[in-house]
Amino acid sequence: MPIELLKYGLRRGHRPYRDIPSTPELRRSYDVVIIGGGGHGLAAAYYLSHYHGISNIAVLEKGYLAGGNTARNTTTVRSNYLTLPSIEFYREGVSLFETMSQELGFNVMFSQRGQLTLAHSDAAMRSFRLRAEMGKHAGIRAEVVDAQTVQELCPHVNMDFGGQHEVLGGLWHADGGTARHDAVAWGYAKRAAERGVEIHQRTEVTGFGIAGGRVTEIRTNRGTVLAGQVLQAAGGMNGRIAEMAGIRLPIRCFPLQAMVTQPLKPFLDILLSSSNLHTYLVQSSRGEIVIGGGTDPYQLASTRSSLPQKEALATGALQLMPFLHNVKLLRQWAGITDITPDFSPIMGASPLQNYWLDAGWGTWGFKATAVAGKRMAETIATGRVPDILMPFALERFARFELLNEMGATAAGH
């Protein structure tokens, strides 16, 4: 038994860890105000306070801490994207996850079990080959594997389903893994708070004062604050918040649904998904099977779940693993994903001088929690967008310099 638990058990009474301080009164002004207390915003607060000496920060969260897409996503961490700028960005993201528990002194349970995406069609194999070639070029572990290797990596997967949806091969990404989503946010919150960062829960931004191309004040349901710099990292609410600041983002919102089964003894080690079946399966450390897939087909800003999507996810899950038919579903839920035309995020400068964007995270935001936080912190602290973020600038849409990640984001998240 680890020494930490022994020490705890031999102590008298519970000495609270105080990970997240109670919400204080809003002060009049902060050096940096971060809109959105999800993983990204909290990570940015952490990196600002620990690496750039900026601690006079308020993180404003409309609801409870990390209760939006941080709480709702299916926790895939990977870097096997299609374009070089994306691969390089997410590669840094994965490496930050690898050391995150040590860095934060908080177990985020990063479990690099590898991700296998199955191909049931020539088209999928072609797209996997391209991702593998680009991945190899960028130095990540991504390779196309044949059907036999698929079976070795995941002995329980259904290979042919009666001659239909035959598994032709897959994309094996040994760097892929999962982490405990809540713990990532809490770990960053705890360490940021230790440096004096204020976390304001139930604090909703209601408007901005803007003058001379700058945000001069931020209005909330709890009062108005002044800020030197502002970071917008509001997940599914990004479009709406930007609009309040007079900025139009090329974002459309689609619900993304997921569900979990009752806990079961471990039988699935890797992260398994299928691009043709639009299905994603992973067994959590609690034993639940998390089942996810693509977004709903229609635009909607709603977190209500739907029956057809649940039926579609169940169908995909049983095609991959027909023996799960007896397994019982425990819960389903939905998040709102903010999708850009090229399925890539928007990071960096905005039309306002002191207002920075971290938006357009669609279905792929969790894996970038650390790297987006780190690099946005650097951006705010130095006033200069680092090279690794340049391809993700908002102006790329005006220049049509897009990063086509549509094929690399569908079901694998």
């Binding site: 038994m1 680890p2 930490e4 638990l5 705890y8 519970h14 609270p16 860890y17 990970d19 997240i20 109670s22 409870y64 709480a71 690898e98 528990s101 177990n107 349970m109 990063f110 479990s111 690099q112 049931h120 088209a123 072609r126 080959r129 070639e133 680009m134 329980h156 389903f161 239909q164 949806h165 893994g177 405990r180 809490w186 770990g187 705890k190 009752q262 806990p263 079961l264 003894k265 471990p266 450390s285 034993g287 779940s305 739907s306 029956l307 169940a314 899950a317 049983l318 023996f323 038919h325 007896n326 019982k328 579903l329 425990l330 819960r331 389903q332 035309p341 090229d342 220049r399 049509f400």
Partner: protein, 958 residues
Amino acid sequence: MSNRLGHGWGSRIDRNAAIGFTFEGRPVSAHPGDTIASALAAKGEWILSRSFKYHRPRGILTMAGQDANTLVQIGDEANVRADLRQVAEGMAVTPLNVSGSLRRDRGRIIDHLGRFLPVGFYYRTFFGPRRNSWLKLWEPIIRASAGLGTVSLDPAPRRYLKETRHCDVLVVGAGPAGLAAAIAAAEAGADVILAEKEPELGGALTYARFGVETADAARHLDALRRQAAAAGIAVLSGATCNGHFADNWLPVLQGDRLIRIRAAELVLATGAHEQPLIFRNNDLPGVMLSSAAQRLMRHYGVRPGRRAVVYAGDRDGYLAALDLDDAGVRIAAVIDPEAEDRDGLAPELARRGVPVMRGCTIRQARGGLHLKAVEVQDRQGGRTRLDCDLLVMAGGYTPGYQLALHAGARLSSDDGGTRFSITGVPDHVHLAGAAAGLSDLAAVIESGRIAGLRAAAGLGLAPAQELPAPVQAGWRRAAPSPAHPKGRDFVDFDEDLQVKDIENAIADGYRELELVKRYSTVGMGPSQGRHSALATARIVARKTARSLAEVGITTARPPFGPERLGLLADTTPERHRRTPLHAAHLAAGARMTPVGAWWRPLVYPGADAPEDAIRREIRMVREAAGMLDVSTLGKLEIRGPDAGAFLDRIYTMAHAGQPVGRVRYCLALNEMGSILDDGVAFRLSDEHFYVTATTGAVDRLFAEMMLQKTIMGARVDIQNVTAAFGAMNLTGPRAREVLERLPGSIDFGRAGFAFLDGREGELAGCPVRVMRIGFTGELSYEIHLPQSHAAGLWAALLEAGADLGLRPYGLEASRILRLEKGHIIIGQDTDALSTPDELGMGWALSRKKPFYIGKPAVERRRALGDKRRLCGFALPDEGNAAGVGESALVLQDGKPVGHVTSFGYSPTLGQWIGLAHVAPDQAEPGSRITLRGFAGAEVEAPVVALPFHDKDNARQEM
């Protein structure tokens, strides 16, 4: 010693028959109608499982399938609720979380290590000493101990059925309120479905007690059942309504059947969930809800104990005591937290000699594997020990809120947190009975009647009804038990969480209810917070000095109860469509493959190796004639006065002026100016176009057209007739000869039927639409006809052309044939960003039209310049030594600038050829590009002008 009660008890069991099953390998005998839990209880076996974390013995709590205590494994089925599942002969039942046996579980040691496992302990440690220690060392240990059941990798197959039903009114719950609602709605003329999760109608009337006299309730039950039978209600019993989705779309689970019901009006008579009390050792077997004790006695004829203590937090405690007394259970005492008799039942208990202790609470329960005694504490702190083997808890209820919350309602409480009620119920949803906060039987029935009438009023079948103010419910809040310093006072049995765990979570900084839930995992187990959500909310309110209203109550999400994935999934074995020519392909020995939604023939190998057969088929098309099944093409009929103008909006070429009888290429872009789809449009008349689309894109395109039709207000009718038509492409220099051999009304002569002409007529007795178009670059005719005629014409053509060398060819040959002509495949040679310009398809963009979708973006992108170009290339003479293939990278100065999109060996040219995205400055014929093969070797290839074959496109015009 048997716990079976005498006749008069046990409405569900058939005492005249016996069934045998095994539990932990021991034989158990039961009666038909017994559940696993009732059969074991009748035998005196009360431990059903060990708990998930501390391995504490657990037994019956709700007897209604509402808790995780009773989860067992039956053969290959994990997590079966033992208090719901009826026994079957030979069933082998094993308990969960046990190493050794239930009574001697080796895991029970963990119960004594609890102090070393604080809430959220796994966040504090288990990530060292090495970077990957969590993955390699700790996670495997935790995963092995987590998880409830074991999934079988080879379970018996099961057939699940799905059906969809529509009704005027769906009533969920057939207790007194639900029955009354269904009767009232049906009598008003509505078409009513009544769904009840229990096997019989009546709800609480079948097990609970409503007063000293029981005859009254029996009479109500009788009357309601009789009226329901007479009212023509469709009854679904043993059917759980498991969720509410938008617009009253409700899944009802009945055995292996999923019934999806669309209801115009919905009545939720979902009853109430009795809540357990929190005190030390409240999880011991022998401690159960009052409703569980009553269900055991009345449904299964099982005596829940020999000597009972009854906690009467409300009137139902007294009533349960009367039931227990009737069943011959000795009652050590009824414990009432109130100082005086508020229910008026004390005299009856006194008459029966049952002692009542007033102003008392339960301090703790004692026992090892089963309850042995209860320690009661009075207001002065005095303690009394009462020996017993049964503690019945009547600690109040929460309304059955789940479905209402799925529908958008909220759960609210009064400030004291004594009563919870459902508020903000949306339109077309009506609450009745206990779900509406009622407990008096007459009021419950009346509320049901009114809810039924309101539903009928919603349908226009009855005058609008106002629901009278609800009668005050008899529910009282359970007096909080004094905290016991040693804990073991469980808030959440599923997750083994005690009061201190919740308090410590709050102290650790997780002050919002949702954070408490996520940090402690309270409410995340199989019962989904049914018994823990409100208790947790109260603790949070107390500890953070806020009102319950401020704290809020966690949301309820579907499903209400567990649902098997098999019930939800579409398990139809056939997942791909067959074209009308499928049988002909099989008969011809084709190798079939699923492509998109369809089965398609890849190649007809005959006696040859597939590679040889593909080359043979290509040669055949170039030299004689071949025929390809193109039934999978998307097909749309566009009709109406605005048809031409409408196509002008959707597609980049000009269609309004397209002559009747001509066929024109169609290219659709999205608003980014990227390619969405392509096809052809055949103008059949001024107001009628027949349009083809890519197999995989037609559904998306159809949806887009419907949207654009609405935006434009276009007078067009759009029909997706993809499956209604079969289609075949007859191609090759002898194609015309073949067609002219068949009788028909169409003149196939070269002068009368030119390239890009379209004709309607009759061919070999079939009504056909023929277009002179093709993908191969040869003389081609694409013939579309009603799918029922397709196989006949296919056979007739093959027969007519047999001596000319006509045979069918497959997809593989087709891919090479089109590659030789430099034709692109949308989705393979294009991606989500492809513009017509970078594909060299600027010719397809009308310059004259003021607007088509994507035009502004196309012009903007043209001004910005190409980012890449698609070009043809050929490998040098030594063949494909580098191992180039589709998706191989194109490098410039060592950096990837593009990739190979199509690649193959052209037997016509005797060369490997391909298409690739390259940097704009590499795209001119004559320049050289560097390709990286899959093994890493690089090769230089010359860029070649397209098409590779028949450069002036003479052959298709023959």
